[in-house]
Each structure stands twice: as structure tokens, then as C-alpha cells.
Symmetry: C2
Subunit: 328 residues, 2 copies
């Protein structure tokens, strides 16, 4: 185990190796690593927060990697920002696969000294799928990154998780509202703080412009967002680096507005609190579902519940009694 003070100092001085090491510890399933990670996060917390956190989602094929590569380079070169890219991918728990593993698709960004790209972990972390992502954000901010991009592949609950850890939630879309859209889950459109219609290039440009107008009309009918900002729709082409400034302005305007109306700070605080509450649930779930005997007990009851042999309420009481017994 590294020396805590050294690692903290390394991260605070922006050392990439220290940052990577720190994130690895946050992602670890080992109990002693987790204890160390807790200390690390605690030490970095006071140095965190000074950033814009951008969540990005969209169906496979929408061009997320290319967009992050091009947009990230734009942010660094034109806006003089420091960009960290993280990924939330609950599916990697099962598949042991990894998104963003292909830094090769981010050729320029991955080697730039003002960018840090962290592939998603190759297996599930202790106590919840996105736990470590929130901690990684803290560490990246402590290391001086003032723009955090959190990518999600849109599997399971991941969008909601990413929405709950970012300031601005961006939905990448394609023109041609037909088949491509089927992959987007219901509820995501209303979660978005802004939409970008990507691949607005070549023959697609006209369709993209049309789609922009259609979505703008549709969004107009949506209930007002709590942020006080009406979601915008823009077109862009990650391939041609077209309209990246409009994309950035969309985000920047949102941050300005929500800073002025105090929504930004209020959301950050409520996200911290929600993280705490979620962590309590995850800790309890770990105790329940991480215990093989109780897990089997729950699975058996599940069958009985679905067959209406026992009421869900009664079954829950039985689980609780079993849980208490396991602690004694």
C-alpha cells in the first residue's frame, strides 16, 4: 500500500500516475484498499468541486467516443480547459468488458497533457456500480481537472446514476427519428439538460436541421426543468469538428444561469446528500445480498411472492428477521 500523504500530494500536484493509482484503489474490491481509498477521498474532498461535470449519453453508434475526442480537444485548445474523461458502465459487471478501453479511438486526447482518460473498470466494485465513479470525480478535481466528462453506455440504471453525479446532462442523438431512436430509453429525453444531434455532415445535414426543429418543438411542450433552463437542441459533427462552439455555449450558458440562480450549488449539495443516502442503502444491500445464505433465502421467497404464496410485505419481514439473526 502506498503512503497516503505521498499519494495525496501526488494527486494534488496533478501527477497522472498518482491519480491513476488512486482511482484503482477506489475501484478495488479488497476491503483494505477500500479503507485506504476512504482516507484518500476524504483528503481530496476539500480540494474538489471546482469543475464543470458533464454527463454524456446516447445509443451505441451515435458517436460518443469521437465526440468526446473532438470536443475534448476543442475544450483544451480553444477554452483552455483541463479535461478528465470517466465512464460509467454497469454492464461491465457482467461482461467483465470495458467501455472506453479503446483509448485508440481518442488518439489526440489520450496523449494530451491536459487530458486524463480513465477506462471503465473491468469488473464491478464493492458496494454499487457507480460508487467509484463519484470518488474518481473527486480525485480528478483534486488533481486540477476543471472539466469532468462522464460517459455512459446507457445500460440499466446508468443514465440516472450519471445524471445524479453531473451538473449538465447531455443527450447525443442522430437525425432520422426512426430506428436509431429505439435504443434510447424512455425518460432519458426528459432528463437531458441539452441535446446534440451528431453526424450533421454530408447528406445528413438537412435531416439533422429538420430533427433539431422537431425536437425543439417537442421540448417546448415539456414541463419546465427545475434548473430554470429550457433544454436546447443543437446540431454538430464530431467528425468535422463542426459546431463545437455551439455545443460548448449550450453547456456554458447553462452553468452561468444555474450559478446565478443558485441551482448549481443546490444541486451539488443535494447530490452529495443523495450519494450519502445511496451509500447507506448500498452498504445494507451488501450485507444482505453479499451474504450467500440470505441471498438464497431472498431468491426462494421471490418465487413464492410471484406465485402469490406469500405477500411481499410479509416476505420482507422474514428477510429482515433472517438478516438480524445473521448479525448476532
Amino acid at each position: 500500500m502506498p503512503n497516503l500523504k505521498d499519494l495525496v500530494n501526488g494527486i494534488l500536484s496533478g501527477n497522472f500516475t498518482a491519480l491513476s493509482k488512486g482511482i484503482t484503489l477506489c475501484e478495488s474490491k479488497k476491503l483494505e484498499d477500500r479503507k485506504f481509498a476512504n482516507e484518500l477521498v476524504k483528503a481530496c474532498l476539500p480540494h474538489s468541486g471546482n469543475s464543470i461535470r458533464i454527463g454524456i449519453t446516447g445509443v451505441p453508434g451515435v458517436g460518443k467516443s469521437t465526440f468526446i475526442e473532438t470536443f475534448g480537444m476543442y475544450l483544451i485548445e480553444q477554452q483552455k480547459r483541463k479535461v478528465a474523461v470517466l465512464a460509467v458502465d454497469p454492464s461491465s459487471q457482467r461482461s467483465k468488458g470495458s467501455i472506453l478501453g479503446d483509448k485508440t479511438r481518442m488518439n489526440n486526447l489520450s496523449v494530451h497533457p491536459d487530458a486524463f482518460i480513465r477506462p471503465s473498470p473491468s469488473s464491478g466494485s464493492l458496494g454499487g456500480v457507480t460508487h467509484h465513479s463519484r470518488e474518481s470525480i473527486i480525485l480528478c478535481e483534486a488533481a486540477g481537472f476543471n472539466t469532468i466528462i462522464v460517459e455512459t453506455v446507457g445500460v440499466g440504471q446508468s443514465e440516472i446514476e450519471v445524471k445524479e453525479m453531473t451538473d449538465f446532462f447531455l443527450l447525443l442523438m442522430l437525425a432520422g427519428a426512426g430506428d436509431e431512436l429505439q435504443g434510447i430509453k424512455r425518460g432519458i429525453m426528459e432528463m437531458a439538460d441539452g441535446m446534440l444531434i451528431n453526424k450533421a455532415d454530408g447528406e445528413n445535414l438537412t435531416a439533422a436541421k429538420l430533427a433539431k426543429r422537431e425536437y425543439q418543438n417537442a421540448l417546448h411542450l415539456f414541463p419546465a426543468a427545475e434548473s430554470g433552463s429550457t433544454p436546447k437542441v443543437e446540431i454538430c459533427s464530431a467528425l468535422n469538428a463542426f459546431n463545437l462552439e455551439k455545443a460548448w455555449n449550450m453547456i456554458d450558458d447553462f452553468i452561468q444561469l444555474t450559478t446565478d440562480n443558485n441551482y448549481f450549488e443546490a444541486q451539488r449539495k443535494s447530490q452529495l446528500n443523495a450519494w450519502f443516502k445511496k451509500s447507506i442503502q448500498e452498504r445494507l444491500n451488501l450485507a444482505l445480498f453479499g451474504n450467500k445464505r440470505i441471498n438464497n433465502f431472498i431468491n426462494n421467497l421471490e418465487t413464492q411472492v410471484i406465485q402469490k404464496q406469500v405477500s411481499p410485505t410479509e416476505a420482507a419481514n422474514l428477510v429482515y428477521e433472517e438478516f438480524k439473526k445473521s448479525l448476532l
Copy 2:
């Protein structure tokens, strides 16, 4: 305490007094009542399920009570159905108030022998705000009601709760997408299986027709629903009993379609399972937050978390240790 067998038989024979008594026991906070209610629900479970469960939401002023009165009477008289009306109102936990307390607004329905109206309970129930609503549905079905209408006032989490306990989620709206809409929360539109634009009467009729077209266009852009059904938009006037047949057809078509594609049954099973899992969480939460000392402990930590003095993960571990101690 009544005799269990007598009460079950009373409910199964459709006796209103027995049904009311049963629901009161489900809503009770007393532990012995809850134990009795568990037995009651267990006995009714095998007789439940043979119904259409309709969730209805909409901002105050949209005319929910009038709609339920008129629509309920239509269902009874024209469709020969038996209608039970329940309410989910988490806000009553705080205000000790009650929605649907005013049966006076449902003059005809409230006295009809084929209708049963249950006002929301006047205070929070043990173990979760909507616990008892799910149990009440079971009891109403066992009593022979084949149409369950669950109304929500749209406060807090209530729409999601109602969506999770019904087969068809209906959003009541008003024409004039401006101010009136502000009360609808984001995410609700994408949750709806269908929309009804109410108050399509007099001068409002033209605006309602226009709104119908606009929403239909907007819904067309939405991702496909898991049910396999595209949400429809209709206009109606609860005041003039106008277009109630179209409203019913919208629901009936959905039930037919989802019965044929097996979504109906699959959703019912997954809702039962979700209720079980939710009950486990609620049982644990009750043990945590129902314990005054632990509750204070959590509140103190919350302040420290928001002030970044302790990380959420670490704080959650501390809560868990405190919880374990309390059980010993």
C-alpha cells in the same frame, strides 16, 4: 381485532364494511394491526389480480375528481364494470390532510353499489407511503372489483409509485401548453401510457384539439415504450361526459395489446417482485430511520457530508456500524 376468517369471507363476498375494515388495518401503524393485515392480504392474494389497474395523475385543477366521477359512472353503466377508487398521497404524511376525502365531489359514484371509493389515509403508514395502497388493491380485487383506479396528486415520488402498481398510467392534461403545464414534473410525460386532454368543452375545444395534435407529434419523437404500445392522446370533457368511450378504448386497446404480447403478465410479475424488494428496503429503512438515535446520527453526518468533512462512503460505513451496534 375481528376474526380473520370472518373478515376474509366478508371481503370475498364483496361486503363494503369488511373491505373498509380490511383497508384500515392495512393502513394502521400499530404492529398488531400490521400482523393481522399481513394474514389478511395473504388470504386475499390468491383471489386478486383479475382486474385492470389504472393510474391517473395530473396537476391540481386538471379535473381529476370530476373525471373519475364521470368516467367511473361510464365504466359502471356502459361497460358493466365494478370500480374501486384509491388514492396515493405521500403529502398527507406531512399535512395530515387527505385527498379524495371529499366524496362529495363524486356524488353519483360514491353512492353507487358497484363503486367503492377509499379516501387516502389521514397519516403516514408504517413502512412506506404507498405500502398500503398496493395492499388495498389486493383487497379490492378480492372483493370483486375488476377496475381499480389509483389517483395521485403528483407530489414527490407518488407518480412513480403509482406507475409501479398499475397496468395503465394515464396523464390528464389541459390545453394551453403554457402555465398550466408548469405543475407537471419532468419525466411524467414519458411515463404515461396515454394522455387525455380534459376540459375540451366550450371555448376550450379548439385549443384542446390543437394540443392533441401537438402532443401526438411530440410523442412520436419519444422512444418506443416497453409495452409495445405507442401512447395515444385524446381529448375529453369530464364535465360534459364527452369522449369517455375514446378514453376507455385507449385503455382497453392497451390492455388487449399487452395481454396478447404478454407484457401485461410480465409487468404484473415484475411489479410484485419490485414490491418485495421495495419492502425489504422499507423494512431496513424503518429499522434505521425509525430508531431515534440512529436517525440523529445520520442527520449529524449529513451536515458533515455536505460540508465535505467526511466522504459519503465513509459516512455510510459509520451508519452501518452504528446500526449493527443497535441490534446487539
